[in-house]
Point group: C2
Amino acid sequence: MAERAQYEELVRQLSAFGAVKREMARIMPADCHSGSAAVLTVLGRHGDMRMSRLAELLSVDLSVTSRHVAHVAERGWIERSPDPADKRSRILHLTPAGQEQLDELVRRTTHLLADRLGDWSDEEVGRLTQLMARLRDSFGDCRAAPRPAPPPAPPALERTTRTPAST
Amino acid sequence: MAERAQYEELVRQLSAFGAVKREMARIMPADCHSGSAAVLTVLGRHGDMRMSRLAELLSVDLSVTSRHVAHVAERGWIERSPDPADKRSRILHLTPAGQEQLDELVRRTTHLLADRLGDWSDEEVGRLTQLMARLRDSFGDCRAAPRPAPPPAPPALERTTRTPAST
DNA sequence: TATTGTTATACTCTATAACTATA
DNA sequence: TATAGTTATAGAGTATAACAATA
């Protein structure tokens, strides 16, 4: 368990972090902004999936996912096939053009990082990546309605699969 | 110098990071969103300063800063005094009410982190904070037009600097 | 003429709610 | 009735450009 002051400092870094993300956004292709990039990245990494699964991995609402998916589908980067097992669902998968676009994104972002983090050691980059992954994991599925806090139910934190029993 | 694959993985973590920030945003007071919180935090940490300096520390455009500052000023959390040395400038400083608000923000965010990172060691929190600070530092002042990318520069991907060449 | 701020406008991302189709 | 997905609407953050006041 860390101390108060440490949390404060971490929060400060988290806030200031938007700048780095915006810098990333600036090098994106004109019609492939961060929302589209996120869709392509997740599909490239995890393979075909349904909308709801994608929304979960992106940690955004299904409605948001729907918009981003529509955007990339319009450009031919993904295809939405009907799910034979559930006619309400659609299976998303990357097209060759989508893979090319994804490659381009990787090219640009790695180029930017190589430029900026040229003096970082292999170990440092790895450690940061690892800690960020863990942070994200510690926050779990943090999409909206994490605290419905209804008067009747015990406000504990039942959805937090996060070892809350630290008391 | 790290490897390609590592950069890709880091990018992935950076993208997925929005979720954590949104979770933070959800616990903010209704009239003190992330923009306001950032203003208060920076003023609390660095003391009185001018708009331009604040914009620099926030890594956002001056126009954005102006809006956020107006918001917090309307609520009495900061005061804008004229700068005797330069009548164009305004010196910003936290009011007691602003300090209280800031304390409240710290209370909420540290509480959230304590809940989520309860099983993190002191060392891990410190290391993550340190690495994030360094990352931010490596990106420098990454506000718009950080790469004026004059013609002589590497033609790689100057991200289509708005094609200003249309004099 | 250059700089400090402010304001108007536009764009992206996200969430909530209403709605359709299917389970 | 509940779930998967779409669409409309609204709110927040940011950038660009035009403008005012001062250096």
